[in-house]
Amino acid sequence: MADKVSLAAGGSELWRTVQRLLELQRQAPPLCAIPRNGPIPASFQQERLWLLQQAHPAGTAYHLPTILRIEGALSPVVLDRSLCAIVRRHEILRTTLHVRAGQLEQAVEAPPPTILVARDVSEAPQDEREVLAMACAKEIIERPFDLERDWPLRAMLIRVADDVHWLTLLFHHIAFDAWSEGIFFRELAAAYEMLCKDAPEPLPVPALQYGDYAVWQRRWLTPTVLAPLQEYWKESMQPAPEPLRWPADGVKASYSGGLAQETNAVETAEFRDAFSAWARKEGATPFVAMLAAFLAALREHTGQERPYVCSPVAGRTRPEVAGLIGYFVNLVLLVGPPGHSRTFREYLTAVRGVVAGAMAYQDLPIHLLAAATPELPSPLARVMFSYQNRPVKQPALPGLSLSVKRSAGLVDADADLFLTAEETREGLLLSLQYSAAIFARNDAERLLDAVRQTMRHAMENADVVLKDVGMAIRVDSPGPMGASAGGADGREYVAPADDLERGLADIWQRVLNVPRVGATDDFFLLGGRSLLAMRMLAEVKRSLGYQAEPVVLAQARTVRALARTLREGGGNKSAGHGALTCLQDRGRGLPVFLVPPAGATPLQFASLARHLAPDHPVYGIEYPGMDGRCAPLPSVEALARHHIEAIRTVCPSGPYVLGGRCFGGIVAYEMAQQLTGAGEQVAACVILDTVKPPGVKMPFWDDLLGRIMDARVIPNGESLPGWRKMLWVPQMAFRKIWRHFAKPLAARDSGIPPDHAPHVRRVHTACEKARRAYRPAERWSGELDVAYCARRPALQRVQERWQEHAAYAVFHPCRGAHVSLLDEPYVVEVAEIFRKRIAAGEVGRSPSLMRCEP
């Protein structure tokens, strides 16, 4: 009974049991080599795998593939001889199995002259070689075994290039286990090294063989010895657990040919240590603690009270077999104790008892347990669990560089689920292997999530009742995990308050593929990206009838905020403005609105936006008419009105931060006028190199001189070497003439889609006319920041004309040229102008006033 076990865990009962077992072990016959004068019986482990193999003869569940990529001067002959040496040394690798008179027997065959099969793909084109090599490897990996005829080891050497080979090894589990792998590669390296030096007998014949072990095992595990073991297991199993049922499973059998896929997770070293320390504090090992978490997660997932897992044990309790290759592993059955009203701590204690008992009685071969206890579900080993805290040594060959190529999905799964936890130097690696015929990848991922969550919940508070832990895992939204994972971003789940919020939450759930969306969960933190955002907005239009522009997501990132924005859109059910583009959405500071030059896109402000991140969101405003859908606006005032309407959809009230480049500076200025006139506060208005302030008409030669000076600088700010300078002016002049007379051709050259070029030109012309006609009615009452390129001293005089248009003007000479002002590295200075102005506004004092103080 489970309770009896938990008593045993803590008490003297277990000690008595262990003593009894030690007694039995001491009574075992000696383990030594036996004379080979007849067939040898198979071991219990071989018997078990034989039965499993017979049930699914074409399955690959017990194929253990390893592909080694070997770089360097490999000698295939020496490699072959090394492999033969190992096969000669370990009889199990040349053993076949036969049924005689109802008994399974193993027959050892003579050592082979050669083992390696060779393939060469180095003649194929470079890109195809790996694909072909994998196809060759799959030949030996996927071919089923006939254990009566085939040896358990297949080896293929594939030549991929002159100095690159793939060594593909396939072991059948009936003759190999994890421990054997270490032995195999150690001996391969030793043999290779010695055979390279032409040593005569690289590996000595060992004293013992697997066959001797099998005989000894039969002599030891007589019914007398097996009886107390079976008794223990039968009693501890009362009542027998129900067969595991996966949700939405129907009657799916395991081993139904599903490929083994896996999903992996990692934990930091800090977490690994914290978990171990916590486990020890609760009186358990990390194995037991993680098993408890796994069982609790399985309880939640299946809804069953007592899920059961099997755990592999090495089975090499006798030191004599430490150096033998062969299948020694046995599985122990670990049935989850009842946990319905227990706290996690109590559950953990019960699991500890189960494990202690199982380890003490691990010598009973599991298929004998299954045979002797018909009430147990069959098959037993549907879910497996193992915890490794010793690092696995990587194979190596002297003088060569080896890497192991591993893929999932090569062979069938031998269990529905297999959770492995491996301690590494950097932390903890959790790997959940699953049968693709039974689990969708999503389900396996959710289960692994649940295990990790359970561990964390348990560490935080082990006194919580199990079913509450389960509930907490189920409703957790997938956000970043804090110590107590609540909703996304660690916040609590907030239910949607009305129909609109519910509708939005519904759409988000579908688009983001998450179980639950709260009203205050951030779209992007839930895993949203740009394409999903567009889909979400398209869905919103289709199902809820609201037309929202993507730009609204810059400010409204939660269901609640988006609902509010949609409602504020008013009767025409639209939110956001098509002319407004969000260039950068991060930051709690004041948003910055930028107007580009005439006929240009706001994307040129991308660098500036990057430098205003992460404090200030940045938006760009597009000119109406750029795509030809409407006519360009004819006056600066109309443009300013249009732009203000756009920015108001995002920022209904001030303070506003404005900026404009070239002609955009004039528009920004007019916007500042209009906003101030409407009673709004304008925190900053930055003019970026507007060559012609309002009302200024530059003399022709001044203009030309300026262009020549500018011409010395190529777009990224570096000066042209002298001789190219000479060519630049005529080149520029020619281009102007060319563009004027060959508009369609010019458009194609410059990459503007031919469709758009006329529209862009129309916008440009309209802006030019607007600029010429613009006369500000009065001085602006605020403080202008005028940034201009310092390279042109003639320009500085012109810029000083800005003083006529504002109460105060601060001048910022900048490095860079007209075209490169907003490129790296000059853009940093420009970003500084914005930052300083905004900061000064927040403090309440302006820099220029400071300058006027005595």
Partner: protein, 240 residues
């Protein structure tokens, strides 16, 4: 992983990274991460996001490590203002951009300047008609609606990945000013130029794997565009 020499003369290499990695790949990538990256990885609640983060960062470190001639864990990566990785200034003239969708990530590495890349699983092309109708240019809308129904989703995604690749090359943090970049010509010819401000971006459509489409954008046409696989045996998985 193969060691490749990439010429520094305006070439771009696009690496294909399978995100359904074997645990050995996970372990190796995990081992090469910095402490802060490991902390960030440990905070992911969902294993598929964590796996994607660890494998992508590990791949970036390994690939850049080969180019810079240093061990993956020594590659000087830092976060930019948007939380995206970039090389610390002064480490070498390499630009890279990463994009992922479902089980596949593409990493574009260039020595010639800013690069943008985007990949999408075909299954994500839903609502393509609606998105195009609201936000695409007239020529693009026509191209999509004139295509046979079976191809519309794919065509929409071709347009989408081209726009995204350019916008990612221009800068991060943009909330999709889709209408500002017209890519109809590019999609028609599988490659072409898109003008953004005063820069022209060369864009090429890619077919990284069945069920995925991608595009890469550079400031000028590269002399060479190479494909490489990072851990070719990692599955891309069929997008579910």
């Amino acid at each position: 992983m193969k060691r490749v020499k990439t010429r520094e003369d305006g070439s771009v290499t696009v690496w294909r990274i399978g995100l359904r990695a074997h645990r050995d790949v996970m372990a190796r990538c995990w081992a090469s991460l910095s402490d802060s990256e490991r902390q960030a990885a440990g905070r992911y609640a969902r294993v598929e996001h964590q796996e994607r983060y660890v494998v992508c960062r590990g791949a970036i470190r390994e690939i850049l490590g080969v180019l810079l001639g240093m061990a993956p864990s020594k590659v000087p990566l830092e976060q930019d203002e948007f939380g995206k990785p970039r090389l610390m200034s002064g480490s070498g003239k390499w630009w890279f951009n990463l994009s992922h969708s479902e089980g596949l990530a593409l990493l574009a590495v260039s020595s010639a300047g800013e690069v943008g890349v985007d990949v999408e699983a075909l299954s994500h092309g839903e609502c393509g008609q609606d998105i195009a109708a609201q936000w695409f240019a007239p020529k693009e809308k026509d191209a999509i609606s004139n295509a046979p129904a079976a191809k519309q989703r794919e065509l929409f995604l071709f347009h989408w990945v081209c726009k995204e690749a350019v916008l990612k090359g221009v800068g991060r943090g943009l909330i999709e000013p889709l209408h500002l970049v017209d890519v109809s010509e590019i999609v028609r010819g599988s490659e072409g130029f898109a003008r953004v401000g005063s820069t022209e971006w060369f864009v090429r459509l890619l077919q990284p794997a069945p069920e995925y489409v991608g595009a890469v954008a550079l400031k000028r046409r590269p002399a060479v565009l190479m494909w490489r696989d990072y851990e070719p045996d990692s599955g891309f998985g069929r997008p579910e």
